[in-house]
């Protein structure tokens, strides 16, 4: 086994928590001078992220979002201190289910990795390298392995249990988390997605879901309280409504929704959904977009392309992707992780709420598409629907090297999307969380060429036809 050379304060969660602990000290309305002053004292990586988040047009929302992240991280620390259980979940497990328990707090593997990449000097590379040092494969998913790598050092803030619902939709995610639980000697809870959308398959999924809830109740020594559930789900329902408002605002051209809201939307969804804070941040994003719509504001002279990213985006350089695109007239309408399809949950009784949560879980991104009876069919249906509804004129597949399941389905999805909806797809290759694989400049160049040569021509042809 690898020799540990890390100190507790060097763990990813601990470092990120320390950084976010200063967020509350930032004024609600920061001037350009204050932003510049702060940026100068930050390490390069964090400086780049903060510059991306604190451009004037989204500054207010970004600060609210960062405060939400801080509350979430603090919640985990407080839970630990108070003897409640911290449960590590993947992004495709709705956190509101854990928020429904008073004795538990969710932390989300992929969000932690993203925060590490965005905020830490050296991004997440040292944690990835530690995992590689243990012999874990280099084709693993950095979205998980960065955070898990830090946990494996056994010096960082550690969860009390791992919950995973990725087998059937992502092998590497499920195996990585299973390995982590075994390595740390902590309980592992699981939920299988029946790759079966028939009535029988859904019924079976509900059985598995019930079993999971029973296991959690036993572990947490707490029976779900319908009153508390109702409050949590009530907030989740409000956030869902706001999600659809934001979705509708994306339909205007030029798009009034800032690109980085794609990321912030699921940042909220995967951490604090089911809380009042999440509702506030979602509402604030809707308000900003509406305001931009009313004023006709758009960061570039014109919107030259409306892109839907079919799976993930890139997170190792927020400014280099989200802001660069926007400033060049390329709208990011969302990505696969935004395909949340949230529905209002009936809060009449514990039973209706549990069924609603099971449905929400069954329809989370990745679970819904890759855990379907045919990955290609469901993924294609969802992307086609979203692209048409949002009037996308192109799709971009980020080609994260670890997504074996989407890589094995993307050819069919690309071909059929073109055939059925006339929407071209750019297939990129790169690691969404590690900058070493494909630099942002290369990605920008490829996106730029695609927009210039394919999307613009398509737009011109469409304009001539009109």
């Amino acid at each position: 086994m690898a020799v540990r050379q890390m100190k507790p304060y060097e763990g990813l969660i601990n470092r990120v928590y320390e950084i976010f602990s200063i967020v509350d000290m930032l004024p609600e309305r920061m001037s350009d001078e204050e932003v510049e002053g702060m940026a100068r004292v930050l390490p390069t990586e964090l400086q780049k992220t903060m510059r991306a988040f604190l451009v004037p047009r989204i500054r207010k929302n970004s600060l609210e979002f960062l405060k939400l992240m801080k509350t979430w991280l603090e919640g985990a620390h407080r839970a630990k201190k108070e003897g409640r259980k911290v449960i590590l979940v993947p992004f495709n497990f709705p956190p509101e289910i854990i928020h429904c328990f008073r004795n538990a707090w969710p932390i989300t593997s992929e969000v932690l990795s993203t925060l590490g990449v965005a905020a830490l000097e050296g991004q997440g590379e040292r944690y990835w390298d530690y995992a590689m040092g243990l012999g874990l494969p280099d084709f693993a998913c950095s979205a998980n392995m960065i955070e898990v790598g830090s946990c494996l050092t056994e010096t960082d803030f550690a969860p009390d249990a791992v919950l995973n619902d990725c087998f059937a939709s992502c092998d590497i995610n499920s195996k990585t988390h299973e390995f982590l639980a075994r390595y740390l000697g902590i309980p592992l809870f699981f939920l299988e997605k029946t790759v079966d959308n028939s009535e029988r398959g859904i019924r079976q999924y509900y059985r598995y879901f019930d079993a999971l809830i029973r296991d959690l109740e036993e572990f947490l020594e707490e029976e779900l309280d319908p009153e508390h559930m109702r409050q949590v789900i009530g907030y989740a329902n409000q956030a869902s409504e706001l999600y659809w408002e934001l979705w509708d605002l994306h339909k205007f051209s030029p798009c009034p929704v800032p690109n980085v809201f794609s990321l912030m939307t699921y940042g909220v969804r995967y951490t604090m959904w089911g809380t009042e804070e999440a509702v506030k941040v979602m509402r604030s994003m809707v308000e900003t977009s509406r305001e931009r719509l009313e004023k006709g504001e758009y960061p570039a002279p014109e919107e030259v392309a409306r892109s839907l990213w079919t799976y993930t985006s890139y997170y190792f350089d927020m400014a280099g992707l989200f802001n660069w695109m926007e400033e060049n007239g390329i709208t990011h309408l969302g990505d696969g992780l935004d395909l949340l399809f949230p529905q209002a949950i009936d809060t009449t009784s514990r039973e209706t709420m549990i069924i609603g949560m099971a449905e929400a879980t069954r329809n989370m991104p990745m679970t819904r598409q890759m855990g379907a009876p045919a990955m290609t069919v469901q993924w294609l249906e969802d992307v086609t629907w979203a692209a048409r509804d949002l009037e996308a004129d192109c799709c971009i597949y980020c080609g994260h090297h670890s997504c074996k399941q989407t890589w094995s389905a993307v050819t069919i999805v690309r071909n059929e999307l073109m055939k059925r909806a006339g929407i071209p797809t750019l297939i990129l290759q790169g690691d969404s969380w590690i900058r070493r694989m494909t630099p942002i400049e290369t990605l920008q160049e490829l996106i730029g060429e695609f927009v210039d040569n394919v999307v613009s021509r398509k737009r011109r042809r469409a304009a001539r036809a009109r």
Partner: protein, 381 residues
């Protein structure tokens, strides 16, 4: 053995050709979770898809990506280039992400009249067992409907009996491998299983009876490092032969095309054939696709190692195999903790470019475990 070697050289073997000429149907499947007994009971030849280390993937690569397992890309290649055109249909299972992709693309391109998705749960519990039993019932119905046959309980019991005999015979054969002087090599054993996976059970049983008898009479092989080979889907007989050519003898395995395809306990519910099969298959999946069952797999591997008194173990997996890639970390540690030296060999399936590297690593490993100077002639004495 010679007859077996003849039969296993092609994908479309003489045996399959004759079966087809006689009007027989052939169904392709890939995962060991597929209960071949049901296909047998339908009077159909179950054919386990293989690529035998086929190195070309250009057609497969037009659907799958270079980040997908090359074994699946090779199989898809053979599906697309017409090699597998003798199949009358495919049975998909959710073995792993790569396999699902392989089947979806294959079906998308070839559009078989019969394509059935057998959904296999990832854990063994009462509720998942019930679900899997229903799945087997759906498979049975699908076969009956499409091929116009009846699969009676009696026919199922008969095929269960035959397949169980085959599996018992394979264990006899493996016992001959584990002897002080093993009577067959690892490459031969893999060849036997690969051959059998393209034959009807009763015919394979005849062949196995003769083989076990023949092998019981030969002198064993001695003076080589005894190895356990484990890991991901590998039908590469040449790879095992290459390892053995370096001075080793693979005396036991925990491979998907090896012992993991037939070892383990039988079902319990003899009176209900589908439940019996569900118990047998879901209870014997020594595959990392199964969640929370690591300890069972580890014990299975350690038992194989102990029984065969191995000098070392090679864990091999195809590049981009998530399941075995992660699993290898724990297995390596557990084997080493039990005093068994380990070589973890990540490889590109069927790639001739990888052969030199593999040879060097195996040689170095054999030197490390102190068996580098053993008799490389490998004569069967």
């Amino acid at each position: 053995m010679e007859e077996l070697q003849r039969r296993s050289s092609d994908i479309f073997t003489d045996y399959v050709r004759r079966w087809k000429e006689g009007g027989g149907k052939v169904l392709g499947y890939s995962c060991v979770a597929t209960p071949v007994e049901i296909i047998e009971a339908a009077g159909i030849l179950p054919y386990r898809i293989k690529a035998f280390g086929h190195p070309d993937t250009e057609l497969g690569d037009s659907y799958l990506a270079r980040f997908n397992c090359r074994f699946c890309r090779s199989c898809l290649q053979l599906g697309l280039d017409g090699t597998y055109d003798f199949l009358d249909g495919l049975i998909e299972t959710n073995g792993c992400d790569h396999l699902r992709g392989m089947f979806e693309n294959w079906q998308y391109a070839k559009k078989y009249g019969f394509f059935h998705y057998l959904k296999v749960p990832h854990f063994l519990r009462r509720d998942s067992l019930e679900y899997f039993t229903e799945e087997l019932s759906l498979l049975r119905m699908a076969l009956e409907d499409h091929f116009g046959v009846e699969i009676s309980d009696d026919a199922l019991r008969e095929s269960i009996g035959t397949v169980n005999q085959v599996q018992a015979r394979l264990r006899d054969l493996y016992a001959l491998r584990e002897e002080e002087r093993p009577r067959l090599s690892g490459a031969e054993a893999l060849q036997v299983i690969c051959t059998g996976s393209s034959m009807r059970a009763n015919d394979f049983l005849d062949l196995l009876d003769r083989l076990v008898e023949e092998k019981s009479r030969v002198s064993g092989i001695q003076g080589r490092a005894r190895l356990l080979l484990l890991g991901s889907a590998t039908d590469e007989v040449d790879l095992v032969a290459e390892i053995e050519d370096q001075g080793a003898l693979v005396v036991a395995d925990a491979l998907c095309y090896g012992s993991r395809s037939f070892w383990g306990r039988e079902g319990e519910s003899v009176e209900e054939p589908l439940l019996y099969l569900a118990e047998k298959y879901l209870g014997n999946l020594f595959c990392p696709r199964m969640f929370t069952e690591y300890e069972r797999r580890r014990d299975f591997v350690l038992e194989r190692a102990r029984q065969a008194r191995v000098d070392g173990a090679i864990i091999t997996y195809n590049k981009f195999c998530d399941l075995h890639g992660v699993e290898s970390v724990s297995l390596r540690k557990d084997l080493e903790d039990n005093g068994i030296p380990v070589l973890v060999l990540e490889k590109d399936y069927g790639s001739p470019a990888d052969a030199g590297r593999i040879r060097t690593r195996v040689q170095a490993f054999l030197e490390r475990i102190g068996s580098g100077s053993v008799d490389r002639a490998g004569a069967v004495r």
